[in-house]
């Protein structure tokens, strides 16, 4: 985090951080309601979509609200409707298919679309720009700016051309201040500005701790004879053990592309677990592996997602702005979907802010945003499923999923839940057990056809950070890391990171912690799962990070 003292400053009506579905939808709604507003979006990725990673199946409810006539357009990105869906419980050798009639209605994907979320964002960005929204990729918002009365007044972008040692390189370029009447934070799960704001205004005072998962995804080009456009498949169970929760997705997209991924809930206990290796193992399951015969892996990426749901959404508004999308956490865990809610939350924020600006307000708390989401479509989406995640965590996959399903059925039929509203009690970081309580897991070696190692994987993510820039992964206490992270937990960072950023290197008798920050694909798992909260993720120089193109 490098801030110069002499920064240029520019004024806008609304400043939005993050060109994801939430930020873009907010910008579009603002300009739809008032074309004269000046709306600017900063995006840390090198282009819109570069840092977007999702399954993804989209429920079109958000897009329908934003563009009621989108179906009549030629170039929209929703070309693959879900045609067939399977939900599997996997054992090591077998798979049990849950009959679709047993699956609660909220989980059905009828009418939904398989998409590349990056493609959706690019489409939204084009629409936004046509409406006059200014979008600047390659610039990260790194610090909130507050006015004299303690309200948010703007955002500062990072300096560029800073050397590893903190000195200014020859092409040093200071960041600037973007001032706005309101600032919207749409950074996605575990955003760094959102973290700052939640702490600064104690936005999570009344909510449960946020829960997260790590989603790892690959894109494959498969043999046309093994491709079924619109077929989607979800699974729980193997290769995860009974106490570890998560699941897979496998979506057949258009053009023989298959999107396959695995989500491990980050409240797992075993420090020897590697989400990446679990994913690789998953692909080798007898009912899964056939899809990949003769196929070629073309992309790789990973991103943390929010899983706390209804109970964990913090207060969205603060004086001078609001959190939108997964920066707040609107992911629906059983539906494995959040994009529709992200879009809806952007729209809601846009509507309220347009109204506020029209009545001459600025830098105040727009409580209308806060009041409307729980009563509106987002609330209706999240409320009925609020107990699945706590039940799943508490009872493991076997009983948790059954109980959760039962609870969702109850809610669907009666409108009430058996369990009331169950709470998330602990952060994911403190869920980790000391390593003596577990045995190391021996994962099979990659075959480089179906399964791979992490380094050859991140190569496909196009990840890049300037060689000489300061590390954007801050280790707060070096000694603590050796004493606890290594000594007590046996170095989980070397396993939970899907980009092999962290290494413990033996140097004779001593151990050295190596942080390969240039490998980082900005998933934020380290910031979430380090048992001592000793690692902080901050935005690197703009344009750094992965270069996803179809994720």
């Amino acid at each position: 985090m490098h801030l110069s003292t002499t920064r240029e400053s520019m004024e806008f009506d609304v400043v939005i951080i993050g060109a994801g579905p939430a930020g873009l939808s907010a910008a579009i709604r603002l300009k739809q309601l008032n074309p004269t507003l000046s709306v600017v979006i900063l995006e840390k990725g090198a282009e819109v979509g570069a840092h977007i990673l999702s399954g993804a199946i989209i429920d079109p409810i958000g897009i329908d609200t934003l563009f009621p006539n989108w179906r009549k357009e030629e170039d929209h990105p929703f070309k693959t409707a879900v045609t067939q869906e399977h939900f599997l419980i996997l054992g090591e050798k077998r798979a049990w298919k849950i009959p679709n009639m047993l699956i609660p209605g909220v989980m059905s994907n009828r009418g939904n679309f398989v998409v590349s979320l990056g493609g959706v964002c690019r489409w939204l960005a084009q629409k936004a720009e046509r409406l006059g929204v200014e979008i600047y990729p390659g610039f990260a918002g790194i610090k909130m700016l507050y006015n004299a009365v303690g309200a948010v007044a703007g955002v500062a972008t990072g300096d560029m051309g800073v050397r590893k040692d903190g000195s200014h390189g020859l092409n040093y370029t200071p960041g600037i201040e973007l001032m706005g009447k309101y600032v919207l934070i749409g950074e996605g799960a575990c955003g760094s500005l959102a973290k700052e704001l939640i702490a600064h205004y104690a936005l999570d005072r009344k909510s449960c701790p946020q829960k997260y998962g790590i989603g790892i995804k690959e894109l494959w080009e498969v043999d046309p004879v093994r491709h079924r456009s619109g077929l989607i498949l979800h699974s729980v169970g193997w290769p995860l053990d009974k106490r570890t929760t998560g699941g897979s997705f496998l979506y057949h997209m258009k053009n023989n592309k298959v999107s396959v991924g695995f989500v491990v809930h980050l409240d797992y206990r075993n420090p020897y677990l590697s989400p990446f290796e679990e994913f690789q193992r998953f692909k080798t399951h007898p009912t899964i592996r056939n899809v990949f015969i003769g196929a070629k892996r073309i992309a790789y990426g990973a991103r943390a997602l929010t899983e706390g749901g209804w109970q964990s959404v913090p207060k969205l508004v603060f004086p001078g702005g609001a959190l939108v999308g997964c920066a707040a956490g609107f992911m629906n865990v059983p539906r494995i979907k959040g994009v529709h809610n992200a879009i809806l939350s952007g729209i809601t924020a846009g509507e309220h802010i347009a109204l506020a600006i029209a009545s001459g307000r600025a830098h105040d708390e727009i409580i209308g945003i806060e009041d409307s989401w729980r009563m509106g479509p987002i609330g209706r989406d999240l409320l009925p499923v609020r107990n699945l995640k706590p039940l799943w965590t508490k009872y493991g996959t076997k009983f948790g999923v059954i109980l959760g399903g039962f609870d969702m059925w109850c809610h669907q039929l009666s409108g009430f839940s058996l369990f009331g509203t169950m709470q998330h009690k602990k952060t994911d970081a403190v869920m980790l057990d000391p390593s003596f309580m577990h045995d190391p897991i021996k994962y099979p070696s990659p075959d480089n056809i179906l399964t791979f190692d992490r380094l050859s994987s991140i190569y496909l993510s196009g990840t890049h950070h300037r060689d000489d820039e300061p590390s954007h992964l801050l280790l707060k206490d070096k000694e603590l890391q050796e004493k606890s992270e290594l000594g007590v937990y046996s170095g989980p960072s070397t396993r939970y990171c899907p980009a092999a950023v962290y290494e413990w290197i033996e140097d004779g008798n001593s151990r050295r912690y190596v942080i390969n920050a240039q490998n980082c694909i900005h998933c934020k798992t380290c910031d979430i799962k380090d048992p001592n909260k000793n690692i902080e993720w901050i935005p690197p120089e703009g344009r750094g990070g992965p270069l996803y193109f179809d994720m």
């Binding site: 070696s445 480089n448 380094l455 050859s456 190569y459 060689d467 190596v514 390969n516």
Partner: protein
């Protein structure tokens, strides 16, 4: 089909790239003349006459050709151009400088850095830093070609007796002049043009070991020293030594990777090397997937032994 091959030399020695380019030329056609342009190039011309498959050797000697600047050299070739259908040179700094200018003056395309000859007018060449191989057909009657020399074996020398012919030299166009040249020290050639590269990784354990073991080996082999990103990050070698995607790609005759496990970026950066040798204690190291010769063992024993034996 008459072919004019522009020799690579330093006025004293004929470089091996010439013999390799000759191999490519012989796959295109048979009437091959070598042009030696420079100053006091007697030895070079004689060496050229010994290469098998050469029809004759043309010599263009004058003071303003001494440094083989593009403009006068191109005019020499242009003055001979009517007699040739193909103009070919190694893709060295010289060839890459002169040949496109020639193509421009002839108004024809150039086919850059061919790695194989499919037929007299169809060639393969790498694009996207070697990530894609293009097969192209040259449509012009006259063809200008540069050759990636690591893709061709050197033509043999033998007992040939071809004639040396002096060329009438056009006037110096005086568009540019030589000022000076600083050769990099003989022991440490540049990474991107070295015939041999020895690279070290984190397996060396310290910058002292890196220096102590790698430098004498590099000196013995007249090799450039490279490093993996991990070694650069650990401070064993400076940034400009890094071999790999974000650093540099290399394409030497011989690449020796020592104590490098072989991150994919590194492998991408060395895939155009002719021969890869890997020395690593981990038999599972990815570097062995691309190495022509793999040696599983302790580099602290192997490297000194290697220095000893070479």
């Amino acid at each position: 089909m008459a072919i004019l091959l522009l020799a690579e030399h330093d006025n004293q020695r004929l470089a091996i790239e010439t013999a390799k380019t000759l191999t490519a030329a012989r796959e295109i056609g048979s009437d091959i003349d070598i042009l030696v342009a420079g100053m006091n190039t007697n030895q070079v011309a004689v060496a050229a006459t010994k290469l098998l498959g050469v029809r004759k050797v043309l010599v263009a000697e004058t003071f303003y050709l001494q440094y083989q600047l593009a403009e006068p050299l191109t005019y020499v070739i242009i003055s001979l151009a009517d007699s040739y259908d193909v103009f070919i040179a190694p893709a060295t700094a010289m060839g890459k400088n002169v040949m496109p200018r020639l193509a421009g003056q002839l108004g024809v395309a150039q086919i850059s850095e061919i790695i194989s000859v499919v037929s007299h007018d169809i060639f393969k060449r790498p694009t996207y830093a070697g990530n894609a191989i293009e097969t192209v057909q040259a449509l012009d009657a006259k063809k200008v070609i540069t050759v990636r020399t690591t893709s061709f074996m050197a033509a043999n020398a033998g007992k040939c007796n071809v004639e040396i012919e002096k060329v009438v030299i056009p006037e110096d166009p005086s568009l540019s002049r030589f000022v000076s040249q600083i050769d990099s020290s003989k022991g440490q050639p540049e990474l991107n043009s070295a015939l041999v590269v020895v690279s070290g990784g984190r397996g060396f354990g310290s910058s002292e070991n890196f220096k102590m073991l790698l430098e004498p080996l590099a000196k013995r082999l007249k090799a450039a020293i490279g490093a993996s990103r991990a070694a650069v990050d650990a401070g064993y070698a400076s940034n400009d030594r890094q071999v790999g995607q974000t650093g540099k790609s290399v394409s030497p005759e011989l690449y020796i990777a020592i104590g490098i496990s072989g991150a994919i970026q590194h492998l991408a950066g060395i895939m155009d090397s002719r021969v890869i040798v890997a020395i690593n204690k981990d038999p599972e190291a990815p570097i062995f997937r691309v190495a022509d010769y793999g040696f599983v063992g302790d580099l602290f024993e192997i490297v000194p032994a290697l220095i000893e034996i070479i």
